[in-house]
Assembly symmetry: C2
Homo-oligomer: 636 residues x 2
């Protein structure tokens, strides 16, 4: 029985979207000019870029993660090249591709570590050794590079590799019934399927999704085949890999957060293409669990450093938060895919939350420093102390990491950020995110231009100029953000009240060149409370304005931030063009205790009124190292 | 130059003190009737009691910790025997002693593990292998058993062992310059010195104290001698053992909390005997750091499970608190020793805090269950989840542990608890703690009897009947607890206002039989705040009444305790004879949020008024497993 594809929206490709906004365009520019070149230098320094040229006995032996870091860097470079052709950058990529071509095995196999270091062991440890994960990233990079440059070499290399993988893994008797220990290839195979139309790639993605968690457990079987005892592995608890049970039986997000996001994104991709509703239902259940019980207000996920993973419902500690940059990026990927299947603002809300908060926290404003972890409270003494016991992240951003997944992940996301803003289907145009700039959208039989004029996320007003080549009737769907209580819409100066369904206002009319939609999204400073089950946030509030979550930094507010008590009234937002690249700050009144006692004291300490200033969480740690806190006590 | 001993007070031995109070006497009785016998059964079951009879090839091979657990059990049994002669119990001890005697080596060496399992390796790894620690506990046990029964065999065995150790370790050329990786023997040697008058024992204790932390580092030298790389050891950071620098240079309490307490108690003992003021100064500085910056309100110490150790100033997380039972007991030992040198209520205050809170939390009311860790907040989901990652303790008390230091430590403390209550010097009598009962105190040329009539710690009034054999003039020093704001004193019904110095009211008069001192210690329910540096307690208060710290339990208050907000007024204490063995409860008003939102919600949730009931922290977890919290939000 042929199932009907479930995807109902398509993204407008980033190549058709230009951005001139306050928030993204400087970041994308920095990404282009600083991050992508700096990451090239890092990958060169570590030996990652030359991994395929490595010879036994030489230093910098290729590591099992390396191909994926290089792949993400190439993917970022490719997106950049699509918009800004650049011979020198292209040559850098081609050099790597040529080296790959030389070592690719006759059967198509391609992995720098395994080919050059331990060829006899390929495909013997899917659980721990990242082969399929690296393959997936290389596929994504190859598809992006082909699309950007029209050059087929890398793409063909990766199709050969994909064909090899499709021969190696599958349900047939002479095939391995394995699946990746670190997901990624599922969504990459769907990209290859879309680029080539070859159904075998989609079938393989579906096979990997469906096989996961089945009994007898493949990870046990391959361990035994290697002569290893499966019981030695974390008590054979495969939650880490979301392989504890078949995916359709998974109701709660478990295990390693990045693996989970890539899996769920891959599941959404497969469901979207194959029309598998049981798989889509699993995605929806997991979405509800992640975003309803296991997500930080910043869009971060993964509550603990132990296993970089989800813990349990409402367990969202602030200082101990892992909230890996890659996991928030993965959440954006998943949300974006869900949005294409279920055009519902709930997905775009979460995507926006992660994009304006946890994701940009992962990179410094100068584009050269990165956080792996994005906790919601930081105390430098604690960071220093607990680092010694490997229980805390970095006090300041770093230029690179031993396992450097996050930096190139940011680079590829920023370089293709335009892709997340608009959507289309048949003759409809959709706006998911607000950002000044322009998009050319093919709908029906013509290309229309949408131009956003807005100071979003700092300003409340968004003007959308609609310019069809010729007058045409089509619906324009504008997202009304979940954080907004009272949106107002005008068309050509006249108030309209179109139906709002699932978070989108849908204006259907005959549009002609020069039509002007004016959307006002009031952005009062709001205090957000967390569910009572969130132990860390009892008695505390987070400041949010529009999609932006704020934090207090020591630079503005002194030490002992956790002891500040916020007055609920008198909070004011003000745009400061000179601070942190230009941000709205939030100022207000608070008090702190005047403490004269020792460690403990009976009775109530006196209080001193103080002024506080909050800055966007996205921009924290761009000044000196110091305390930071998102959740603040509030006077009751 | 002979230095003058610094000890100014002596404790009144527990054998001269009887207790009939509400708090201790039932616990001591349970300790006698349930705990000591149950621990015998456990030590028998594990093979610990028969370690000295073990033969190679048999199961239950002696472990390096075992001698210490058995020693503490014997010590507890000895204290019990001193008050309640019991042939059968004595025989149990004698059996162990006879077995020890048989294996003791000709040179005096005695350690079940090393003699029977790896005799070639004795004294080769002081850092990790607990030989001197076990020796110390055996010495304490031997001294107690000799004192209780008059039998010398065990005592002589241990003197021979001590002599062997004194020959082996020391400053001479043919001696090892080592010192214990786990302190304990220092204070034990001082006990042996006091029991025998042999100065070599005191000298050895002093040597161990003085040698600690010197360079070149003994732990490095012995590692090299074993062929091990010192650098493999936790980055050669010997803070764990308080061996990072000589003890006189130590200003902050670092490393493993139990090791630290035993060291500091030993330092106080050595300083008290030798008159070494530089050592005493180090003790005072460390005391200030521990009790002023690194101690829980329950008297618990050790903020983290990682290394069971101190972290940094004001870092006192509640759920993650380690607060090992043994560490609080060690704090009692140290406080008690400091009190003899500096008769100052600040030491008795901390001793009392630990004794009424963290210590009794370590054992169930039925005397058969034990906590190793005593966190100040518990959420069963978190305990369950993080246990999997070895990041949390037990959700309920256990009968025994693999390394079972805490249960027999409680047993020996409870069995000798009378020793902590009274003090004396020359012709003075001191009362440190209040508890109904009677003490016979030798002062000057006669024995006086002090009898306390009191419902302490639940009731405010303490009547002390003073009965000298014949009328005599002497000072009676009564502690005015640090928690008490307005103590009132009467003698024979008339108000007196004696001078209060360093926490003690000193009544000097001619006492005659039947004199009656009436001390009123008002015990309002008080809300305690923590220093603003204590991140976990910002916005929160702890309920304290008299010396007793309270907590909320799920059994009385439902779930999500962290979200309850306490009203500051209307708190009431009431004695409930049927609850938890008879306790004062504290009831009051609070509110909790009526939550209708999802994970995050803007605006303020409605509040519902609720009644709360707090019970002593000492008695928590004696009903069903559930949430517990000491620090409660309070309305501002």
């Amino acid at each position: 029985m042929k199932r009907k594809a479930l995807r109902r929206l398509e993204p407008v490709p980033f190549a058709h979207v230009s951005l001139t906004d306050f928030f993204w365009s400087p970041r994308i520019e920095t990404n282009r000019k600083k991050t992508i070149p700096a990451e090239y230098v890092q990958c060169k320094r570590t030996g990652q870029l030359d991994a395929w040229k490595w010879k036994p006995g030489k230093p910098k032996q290729p590591h099992i993660f390396w191909d994926s870091d290089v792949a993400k860097w190439i993917e970022a470079a490719a997106y950049d090249l699509a918009l800004h052709p650049n011979r020198s950058l292209e040559k850098k990529v081609d050099d790597v591709v040529n080296a790959m071509e030389k070592v690719q095995m006759a059967d198509g196999y391609l992995n720098s570590h395994y080919i050059l270091v331990e060829p006899q062991n390929r495909w013997t440890n899917l659980r721990d050794r990242h082969e399929l994960y690296c393959a997936g990233h290389l596929m994504e990079a190859a598809a992006a590079y082909y699309q950007a440059t029209g050059k087929r070499k890398f793409f063909d290399i990766m199709c050969r590799y994909a064909n090899h993988i499709a021969r190696t893994f599958g349900p047939k008797k002479d095939q391995k019934r394995g699946y990746p220990g670190h997901q990624e290839i599922e969504l990459a195979l769907v990209k290859l399927y879309r680029a080539t139309g070859r159904k075998s790639y989609l079938d393989l993605a579906e096979f990997f999704v469906n096989e996961r968690g089945k009994r007898p457990h493949y990870f046990d079987l391959e361990a035994k085949a290697r002569g290893a005892a499966p019981s030695e592995y974390r008590g054979t608890d495969y939650r880490h890999h979301q392989a504890h049970t078949p995916v359709r039986k998974q109701d709660t997000a478990e295990g390693h957060a990045v693996r989970a996001m890539y899996l769920y994104a891959g599941m959404a991709d497969v469901a979207g293409e194959t029309g598998d509703k049981t798989l889509l239902e699993a995605c929806r259940r997991l979405w509800k669990n992640v975003t309803g019980k296991r997500m930080y207000v910043t869009g971060g996920i993964g509550s603990t450093r132990n296993g970089e993973r989800f813990t349990f419902d409402y367990d969202l500690p602030n200082e101990e938060a892992y909230a890996e940059t890659c996991a928030a990026i993965g959440l954006v990927f998943w949300a974006h895919r869900m949005l294409q299947i279920d055009p519902d603002g709930c997905y775009a809300d979460v995507m926006e939350r992660a994009l304006y908060n946890n994701v940009p926290s992962g990179v410094s404003l100068d584009g050269r420093g990165f956080f792996y972890e994005n906790p919601l409270a930081v105390h430098p003494d604690a960071v220093r102390y607990y680092r010694y016991f490997r229980r805390s992240g970095d006090p300041a951003r770093k230029e690179w990491f031993g396992c450097s997944c996050c930096p190139p992940n940011i680079a590829r996301l920023y370089a293709s950020l335009g892709e997340y803003i608009y959507g289309k289907r048949r003759n409809e145009a959709w706006i998911h995110l607000y950002a000044a700039g322009r998009a050319a959208i093919d709908i029906g039989s013509q290309t229309i231009t949408l131009e956003q004029e807005t100071g979003y996320p700092w300003k409340e007003k968004v003007v959308v100029k609609v310019s069809p080549a010729r007058a045409a009737s089509f619906p324009l769907a504008l997202r009304i953000p979940g954080w907004c209580r009272k949106a107002a819409l005008k068309v050509n100066g006249r108030t309209v009240r179109p139906p709002v369904r699932k978070g989108y206002a849908r204006i259907k009319r005959t549009w002609k060149k020069g039509d002007r939609v004016e959307l006002t999204l009031p952005m009062p400073v709001e205090l957000v409370e967390a569910h009572p089950g969130v132990r860390a946030n009892a008695g505390r509030v987070a400041i949010q304005r529009g999609p932006v979550v704020y934090c207090l930094e020591e630079a503005d507010n002194g030490r002992d931030l956790q002891d500040l008590v916020l007055n609920k009234s008198g909070l004011r937002a003000k745009y400061d063009p000179r601070l942190l690249g230009g941000v709205c700050t939030v100022t207000g009144k608070a008090y702190r205790r005047e403490w004269k006692g020792g460690l403990y004291d009976r009775g109530k300490a006196k209080r001193t009124a103080v002024n506080i200033k909050a800055v966007p969480f996205a921009t924290w740690a761009n000044r000196r190292v110091g305390e930071m806190a998102v959740w603040i006590l509030r006077s009751s």
